[in-house]
């Protein structure tokens, strides 16, 4: 006698049983079932989930090292997943950062490693001035080494517009849109963390690196003219850091959405990054 005849529910898709369309415990099959509750199937976190988690504000861009990477010598292009075409690229071999596949720092996910010498990526995005349109960044990164005036991202080649940069003393990072403010020591060297940076052109600006929130000072209202990852000038200001993902949205998500993003970070990259 076949299993299908005796236990037809076993042949049903898992989602049907989970949704109680057919509940095997309500069908007198109790003696055939293993003891204990039926565990709901775990839903795996995906690399682009932030785009569906945050819906109250629109995305400017979302870059994930697990999606849309092009290898030349190093990373020659990194495709924006937001649908806005704000892709990153680097046409010079010596300045292309490296793709780290299966990076243990990020729970076995990929990351992009900038060497701290001359690596950087140009993003085809001219961000708005925070005084006219706020920008909220969300990222997972790891400072490998630290040096003053080195940039994880920046909106100018010769000025510190819309920047998250190493500045002050190890391992501090500041947000900067002319003014270097809200210095934050929450991202220790060699420790992968999540980061949030809010540019609104007001005292509501903040940095949140790991669990450390610093706010109260405006970074300024200067209008950026480009957007660049890992360096401002491509040379002395190149950072030595890994970036697993970076998203930017038009304004601040809700508290619930931010909590959901933190939960996603933990689920996708591991508990260490979600601290």
């Amino acid at each position: 006698m076949s299993t299908a005849l005796n236990m037809p529910w076993l042949d049903l898709p898992h989602w049907m049983r989970r949704a109680h369309i057919i509940n095997p415990r309500a069908c007198n099959f109790g003696s055939l079932l293993p003891p204990g509750p039926i565990a709901a199937p775990s839903v795996a976190a995906g690399p682009a989930d932030p785009l569906t988690i945050v819906t109250s504000v629109s995305p400017f861009l979302f870059l994930s090292a697990d999606l849309g990477v092009t290898i030349g010598t190093g990373v020659s292009a990194w495709a924006d997943q937001s649908g806005n075409g704000h892709d990153a690229s680097q046409g010079t071999a010596a300045s292309q950062p490296a793709l780290v596949t299966g990076d243990v720092d990020f729970g076995g996910r990929n990351s992009i490693l900038a060497d701290g010498s001359n690596d950087f990526l140009d993003v085809t995005w001219n961000p708005p001035a925070p005084g006219t349109q706020p920008v909220w960044f969300f990222c997972a990164f790891n400072q490998i080494t630290w040096g003053a005036a080195k940039f994880l991202f920046v909106g100018n080649t010769s000025a510190s517009s819309l920047a998250l940069a190493q500045a002050g003393a190890t391992p501090a990072m500041v947000q900067q849109n002319t003014a270097a403010v809200n210095s934050n020591t929450g991202a220790g060297l060699g420790s992968p963390v999540r980061g949030q940076v809010y540019f609104s052109g007001s005292v509501s600006d903040y940095t949140k690196l790991g669990a450390v929130l610093v706010t109260g000072a405006s970074a300024g209202v200067v209008d950026p003219i480009i957007f660049r990852l890992f360096s401002r000038n491509g040379g002395t200001q190149s950072i030595n850091a890994k970036l697993a993902c970076l998203g930017a949205w038009v304004g601040e998500p809700s508290a619930g959405e931010k909590a959901a993003l933190d939960a996603w970070i933990t689920a996708y990259y591991g508990a260490g990054v979600g601290v």
């Binding site: 690399p47 697990d66 997943q81 140009d122 080649t157 491509g234 040379g235």
Partner: protein, 171 residues
């Protein structure tokens, strides 16, 4: 940090860089890896104009402080590759001679006071001013002088609505 470089004028090192890239086989098309949306990477590129996303146009940047002071970084590893039979076959006799002579002039240089040409605002300006087709989408940092030059040029060639709308954001 000291880097082995060929010193020279900006123009001389630009010319040398052409031979370096030719010898090493650049430009090269990249390879998409992983899932998700990828960049729109052209299958072929003639090596002129802006480097398309996903392509690698050159091995190294020409680092400059002025038109008279330039350094072309060439590591020992790269120098060895440039002297391999495969690389030399890609070059003319004159290019080989000039390249091999240049490799002998390499010295250790601290590049911290130099700026790579491809990342400088001036380089972006030159590329943008030279290529009006990019004006509808460029995010290049431009000086006021460059904007005025481009604005005059745009009016002269009757730009499309998209370009004019984009330019309006500059002023």
């Amino acid at each position: 940090m000291l880097t082995k470089c060929v010193p020279g004028t900006e123009a001389a090192n630009d010319a040398l860089n052409v031979s370096v890239n030719k010898g090493l086989g650049f430009p090269q098309r990249g390879t998409h890896v992983g899932d998700g949306v990828h960049v729109d990477m052209p299958q072929v590129w003639d090596g002129t104009g802006r480097t398309p996303p996903g392509w690698t146009s050159s091995a190294v940047d020409n680092w400059t402080t002025s038109t008279l002071d330039s350094q072309l970084p060439i590591s020992d590893e790269m120098a060895n590759k440039l002297q391999s039979p495969e690389a030399l076959l890609r070059l003319s006799i004159d290019e080989r001679t000039a390249l091999q002579a240049a490799l002998l002039t390499r010295i250790d240089v601290d590049l911290s006071s130099y700026t790579p040409k491809s990342s400088s605002a001036a380089a972006e300006e030159v590329a943008t001013v030279a290529n009006f087709a990019d004006l509808g989408t460029t995010t290049a940092p431009l000086s006021t002088t460059a904007k005025v030059t481009i604005g005059a040029g745009i009016l002269a060639v009757a730009a499309g609505a998209a370009e004019l709308a984009h330019l309006a954001g500059w002023f």
